[in-house]
Symmetry: C2
Subunit: 439 residues, 2 copies
């Protein structure tokens, strides 16, 4: 292997829609994806929804010559579905499972069973260290009435926390995946503003692909019109994001997406379009004492405060819903218990009044008792589930409150050192004395 | 708040044993702990097993004047039990839940229900950034036949991964908590060697406390002799670890532990002893381009390879056990299913041979059917549980294999640049060409 720094790195990302026996033409599509990757040879391949390890192993074998370094992120029962293939050595990997991921009883949406997570791989690009992240967030099934919004916001929050805290030692940061969020959605703004990650599509000098960079398009035969309504041209929910550091500059030279149909094939690679970004690297010659931190201006900070506050509001709304659902579960459980006692009391009548006849036909007695037990068990499980959800939402909200306080502190620092920023909005009143910024 | 760099930081760590209604004198002990902290005023307080949020809120109120910055790490149903109180501003927090934590059916051990995790808080110590970690690993109930060894090794692995990957931007790293491992246990060696964290007890210039720094002692009335047998003097399983960086030096000036009894009180603070370490700080004047990485010599690397290999072996043993358990669960499930079919077949006889009498008394029929369903449900849940366990163990093993490969690569680099190291053991044969080390 060569140790000279590459001056470009090509990144490929695709949601493979790989549910064996359920996704259409699954194995044929994996063959096609394998062929494509063998031909195109991108440096880094980030795949999502590779639900079966067998399919991962198929690709691993197929790409063994072009991409000798691979990792499959295992988690939960089914797995995270995340895989990475690389031409460059993978030194280390880390997986972070999101604390929230939908509801188990929404089985037809299926997200809960997937064990969604963000996977990280530490790669060497010559002398540079690249932290490469791959993730897949909770799907949005109804944009008007999105009952998963709080979950997705918390996932976006955890994603940015994970990236920020694990990437301080990295020269280059790359994130690819299906974020299930439109470019200006709250979670997306949160992610980009807090981490400083830049959107390859927005920054590219040259673009070849679907109009607007959309990755879920009506022309794709696996997509129903309903899924993208009312965006008849499609939606952009898959991304390649990147940032450099004080030790390396990075930019996007060109980007492309697939366009629904594939030459010589009756169907496309997946229900999503594949993304490829050519990222230009430039090792900076001047070393800096501290890894660069973002955001770095008072304006950016103030914007970030607004976004985090908005996210906190969404989480609070989600918390309110979860608390109401838990209350409903508890009340239903109590009603089930009352019904059971009532039944037992009625059934006990003949015992006390020995002459009286058994008021219950035996079958109805058993059926009613079974119903009561089913109610009790279900509401108990729901109660536990909602308690976990509430804890996770509270945890995220605590972190967000802390972050807003800390950002205000930084803003105060800016205001103190740069008098022209002094008109920035005042802090939340966490504690009085101003101090120097940390930078 | 003052922005001058403090030249010392006092860290306190205690496992509070705070199970409401189950732990003895729980609320009285929290009062005592609060009093102690108000009096001693350590800079950073790391508490474990604070299972009830009410107790956390009690301490938060009690310490509001001395420790204005606090965080309680919420996770799972019961919570992580982890809390941090600080004199210095907390800017950010992050929680990482361990993927393995015992077995739900070992309810009397209770670890599974606790949602064990590692919490991180980013603190400002003047101009220095400190990453402070608090954790509590799975308990060891039987040292001779430790059925949780693989789980604890995986937890130690995930802990070191989390610390290594999140601390690159930190000037100072501090970890406190109940590791449930003796100083030379595999997980402990893994943690220290890989992260470069140093043991305050081993490094302190001055020590005042139990002989050998033990934190679980026979003199403690809450401890049964059985728990520490055959170590009649006690065992050391609680730690304060630390490391500096190229931007700050850190050392341990003095350390102390409580000694079982407390003056003017009939019982001690907890079943564990509390630790206090006085850490000396020294901001380095010469900035370095990259955060310092450990380990940094061929000898250290070779030792680390051995430790990771040892850990990998333990994980493989655990994997083997989990696979056997899953197989047993599946076989029992199949037997339950066969029994159910047999019963149904026998019960169906009168339907086919219309004259024949029902061979089953109704009550036995229902009882047997209920038994079959119970077997099926239990084995199904166990199968799912063991599948998750296997996935997590495989995930850790994959990461360890990757790490060993990467460490060998570094060793080859050392051997190439420093010919006197050329006699180091050869690599595992992952790929032939040697290259420069990454440092």
């Amino acid at each position: 292997m060569d140790n000279t720094d590459p001056d470009a790195v090509r990144v490929f990302s695709l949601n493979c829609w790989g549910i064996r026996y359920l996704s259409k033409y699954c194995s044929q599509r994996y063959h096609m994806i394998g062929e494509l990757l063998c031909k195109e040879k991108p440096d880094i391949v980030l795949l999502q929804e590779v639900w079966s390890e067998k399919d991962y192993l198929f690709l691993k074998k197929k790409l063994s010559c072009t991409h000798p370094y691979t990792h499959y992120f295992k988690s939960g029962v089914i797995g995270s579905g995340l895989a990475i293939f690389s031409k460059h050595r993978i030194h280390d990997t880390l997986l972070h499972r999101y604390s929230l991921n939908g509801y188990p009883y929404m089985a037809h949406h299926g997200d809960w069973f997937g064990g969604k997570a963000v996977g990280m791989a530490v790669l060497s690009l010559g002398s540079l260290t690249a932290n490469v992240y791959v993730t897949h967030l909770h799907a949005e099934y109804n944009r008007e009435k999105d009952s998963y919004l709080a979950h997705r916001v918390v996932q976006a929050w955890e994603l940015q926390q994970f990236i920020r805290h694990t990437s301080a030692g990295a020269d280059v940061v790359i994130l690819g995946g299906d974020l299930n969020m439109h470019p200006q959605d709250l979670g997306n703004r949160l992610l980009r503003s807090y981490t400083g990650l830049r959107d390859a599509y927005a920054e590219t000098a040259k673009f070849d692909g679907c109009e607007g960079g959309v990755t879920l398009i009506a022309d794709n035969p696996f997509i129903s019109q309903k899924e993208i309504f009312p965006f008849e041209k499609g939606i952009r929910i898959d991304y390649i994001l990147f940032k450099g550091s004080s030790r390396a500059e990075i930019g996007c030279d060109s980007m492309s997406t697939t366009k629904g149909s594939v030459a010589d094939s009756p169907f496309p690679f997946s229900d999503h379009e594949a993304l490829t970004a050519e990222l230009k690297l430039n090792s900076a010659q001047t070393g800096n004492d501290k890894p660069c931190k973002t955001p770095d201006s008072a304006g950016n900070l103030a914007e970030l405060v607004d976004i985090v506050t908005e996210a906190r509001t969404e989480v609070k709304v989600g918390l309110h819903c979860a608390e109401r659902m838990r209350y409903t579960a508890a009340r239903t459980g109590v009603m089930g218990l009352a019904l059971l006692f009532l039944e037992l009391a009625i059934a006990a009548v003949p015992w006390f009044a020995l002459g009286a006849e058994q008021p219950f036909p035996q079958t109805s007695f058993y059926l009613l008792a079974a119903l009561c037990f089913a109610i009790l068990l279900t509401t108990f499980l729901l109660y536990i589930f909602y308690t976990i959800e509430i804890k996770s939402l509270q945890g995220a909200e605590d972190q967000m409150r802390l972050a807003v306080g800390s950002l205000h502190e930084k803003l105060r620092g800016f205001a103190a050192t740069q008098p022209h920023c002094a008109s920035m909005e005042p802090p939340e009143g966490q504690e009085p004395p101003a101090r120097d910024p940390e930078e």
